[in-house]
Amino acid sequence: MSPVLFELLLRSIWETILMTAASGLISLVFGLPLGLALVATDRGGIAESRWVNSALGAVINGFRSVPFIILLVALVPVTRLIVGTSIGTWAAIVPLSIAATPYYARIAEVSLREVDHGLIEAARAMGGNRWTIIREVLVPEALPGIVAGFTVTLVTLIGASAMAGAIGAGGLGDLAIRYGYQRFETSVMIAVVIVLIVLVCGIQWVGDRLVARLDRRG
């Protein structure tokens, strides 16, 4: 591999990490509250509201049913509005975040729903309000699942960021297609695959260790 290509590889790694980390963070910040809202407004939840629950569910399902490559293109005007351009790494973070947020919301919802209803009842019996229940019961008890779900989301984002190459986002996927596939640079292809494997394994390992530390359920 030539020094130029090697430098390109390093830059692509950085771009992939940037896209994954930024959109991952955004999906956590918005997806977790969304997941909480889904559980809280559901039947028997702490802020039961069938109307809000159905509306939220419909919006989330809507975004989740659009294939990412379509979403990428369809969101171009939105991206332009937020970032100022529809091309490049930062521009790709917008559709990546919008795709990952409802995805993570559903994963967080599953973990939060698994919290034993008896614990919520105990907190209510102690005189706790909704905020107490969220802060002291729902989130801490679901934390291992919330973290494990975030790991899954990050790994999925690495894959999705490759597709963002279609709008000139750069990153490892883009590099693999342009050099490894279209220009028959097999060494680039192999290098990209190895880096991706290391990245995914690394994220999964850190995530698993974190979950093991957090899980006190014995």
Binding site: A122, A123, N129
Partner: protein, 365 residues
Amino acid sequence: MNQHFTAVAGTADQTRGQPDASQDVVRLVDLKRRFGATAALDGVSLTVRKGEILGIIGRSGAGKSTLIRCLNGLERPDSGEVFIEGREISRLGERDLQPLRRRIGMIFQHFNLLSAKTVEDNVALPLKIEGRPKGERLARAAELLDLVGLSEKARAYPASLSGGQKQRVGIARALAARPALLLSDEATSALDPETTRSILALLKDINRQLGLTILLITHEMEVVRSIADRVAVIDAGRIVEQGPVWSVFADPRSDVTRSLLRAIRPQLPAELASRLAPGAGAETILRVDIAGDAARGPLLSDLATAVPGAFRLVHGGIDHIQQQPVGTLFLSVPGSDASHLGDIITFLKTRQARVEVLGHVAGSV
């Protein structure tokens, strides 16, 4: 409700003092709650006096859980009134219920401890909800863990504890905010008999030491027997019987109570029961129930002196409930002399015993 053993129970009730409305921690008036077609509560009226342990017993589905949840507003009655320390709470909003719930501790069948928090943080949680400073919370948690004998587990997580230890933590947590009332929702039902005994002893201890009023629901008569002062029997959403534990045990009036008591009261041995026949036979089997002062005297030796002729004790014994003797004896009277049998029954009745002729057995008992 039923006047249990009015003649002999008077002494026990007088020492307890006249019921005074201001001393009622809980007063329920005609509570009703339906779930679809079934009435979980069908007009329940009940009072819990300050400092007493009231046991509410019933089969599963009798309405116990709904009843206990109405007391802290986790469940709302369709109609009727719930007074806690004189204040009607059944129509309060969630926000107004929150400070009230801090006056009421609750323990659960499945403990409901937070797995992500240490034992001391679990115990301190009610104080955190009250907004107390951290130092005070931990000091109080340490004090309570000492009370329940788990000081060395303060930093452990609930998953590392045994069932009995978890319930001790649950009790410590329920006491953290110094409640006026402790609700126990089948607190020992998931525990083995030995652990159950130690948890019940702890509750009794807390009741005595802190003067804490306890309302417990259970389906086990043994729980009521060992710690309750009074018992109320609930069936199909109604209180069918209530009174001091020893008198309800001595003279159960409803079928539900009798059936719940069957597990812990003496019964005629099955082999003998199967041979009982209504007509004449070689021996007559009597069931004799005695309680209170009637059971303190030398009943059987007096009987032998007063009525000449043989009789045998087949089965039974005297139990002591709340320092009151409560006994069931099965006597066998040989021969077919009706006047001899009549004399025995008459004598026993003069001693406040309840006598029932169960039947006759042919051949030797």
